[in-house]
Symmetry: C2
Subunit: 244 residues, 2 copies
């Protein structure tokens, strides 16, 4: 398949480029329900998920990725530069539809493992609490944004999670339960919603105490605690292993 034939490359002033570029701003993302994904890997995943609204690529990138280039708009290097946030975007940027779903829809699929991020702020860890569609978060998700159900809620409600048959475990460095212990007793083999707090402040006390268990990752050494990303990776891995 070929890029749109006979179209002169779009420049930074072409209206479609001007409009797409605005999606770097959160307000515009929220108003339109759209966001930008860059690079062949993210674009491929977004296409597979049926979420691509418009695709822009340099002539070189479209030639290198013929599988992605159907219907793409060619853009100048300069126009690609203003659409992309990274230094090396590899020539492709897509306007995508934000894929988040209502909590009820996500729970209706009977997930066995859910991660709830409470007031997480570092986009590299999960997206800010309010906008998982900023560029850094989209890149950090490495495509998972396009095939994991993403739900945004104004507050944390545990009843719907429990109603869907999930136990609620709070990741808490000062928790009285220990991840190894829960794995040993088989408790991790139950469908689980994990609650993770912010990097700086952890979970709000009220949220942590509303969970069924407060669970710490055992630290075999003298470190005081793990960072959020490491703790979440370990908790989710341990659950996924127990749920096999």
């Amino acid at each position: 398949m070929q890029p749109r034939p006979g179209v002169a490359p779009f420049t930074v002033r072409t209206p479609r480029v001007v409009a797409a570029r605005r999606l770097h701003r959160r307000r515009d993302r929220e108003e339109t329900g759209r966001f930008l994904a860059e690079g062949p890997q993210a674009v491929r995943e977004a296409l597979r998920a049926g979420l691509v609204v418009e695709l822009f690529g340099t002539a070189q990138a479209l030639a290198r990725h013929p599988d992605l280039s159907a219907g793409a708009y060619p853009v100048t290097d300069e126009a690609l530069g203003v659409l992309a946030e990274t230094v090396a975007p590899q020539g492709l940027v897509a306007v995508c539809t934000a894929p988040d779903v209502p909590l009820e829809s996500a729970l209706a699929r009977q997930p066995r493992l859910v991660a709830v991020l409470v007031e997480v702020r570092d986009p590299g860890n999960a997206g800010t609490a309010v906008d998982p569609y900023n560029g850094k978060c989209v890149r950090a998700s490495a495509g998972s944004l396009f095939h994991v159900d993403l739900v945004r809620t104004p507050s944390v409600e545990l009843d719907p999670l429990r109603g869907a048959g999930l136990q609620v475990l709070a990741a808490d460095p000062y928790g009285d339960a220990d991840l190894d212990g829960l794995a040993d007793t088989g408790e991790l083999a139950r469908p689980t919603a994990w609650l993770f707090g912010s990097e700086a402040h952890g979970l709000p006390d009220a949220v942590a105490h509303a969970a069924d268990r407060r669970v710490r990752v055992p630290i075999h050494g003298q470190a005081e605690s793990l960072n959020l990303a490491a703790a979440a990776a370990v908790c989710l891995y341990a659950s996924a292993r127990a749920l096999r």
Copy 2:
């Protein structure tokens, strides 16, 4: 205990501050074998490890942390600002002796779990391959720099690791062994040296193939791979759990 009495706060021009500030440069760290640690948590760990050469603090910070302030030099806010890299260093910066040890010494302690970082470049993940004492790495280690044996070698040598009774496992997204499988068979319960490659390129082929096993973290979903920090957290957790 009190800060040095009767000393006027050091300024940005005081020779000790000028000398300490140079340690932001890698060349100066390498020439002196010293580096900077900032914030009460890192300073406390460095003091416990006996690695603090000089401690600088604002009057406010020294008053707030009397347990740390013995022998500290008071500095002006401006001087603290040039010594610190973070926006909120909480008033304390220490000049520390780099604690790395020779490989033989580290192995003589018969470690049961060793992480080998091969050409890792992102300081947030482990320190650059060449300088684990840059500020970002010191902060990312969250104190572990001061109580884990740190060894730097110009190349990766597996024989000394095997000689110390360690099996060598390479973390490799395309590995033929699976972390869950090794946990199930009990292989993870053997003393282990894990090899982790760079974020961008993974392990060099020759290094990965020289390991006893190339091990992938099982991915229960559609993601293509984990980032280095998440993969390392999961591998080391799984080993530590098996080695309990």
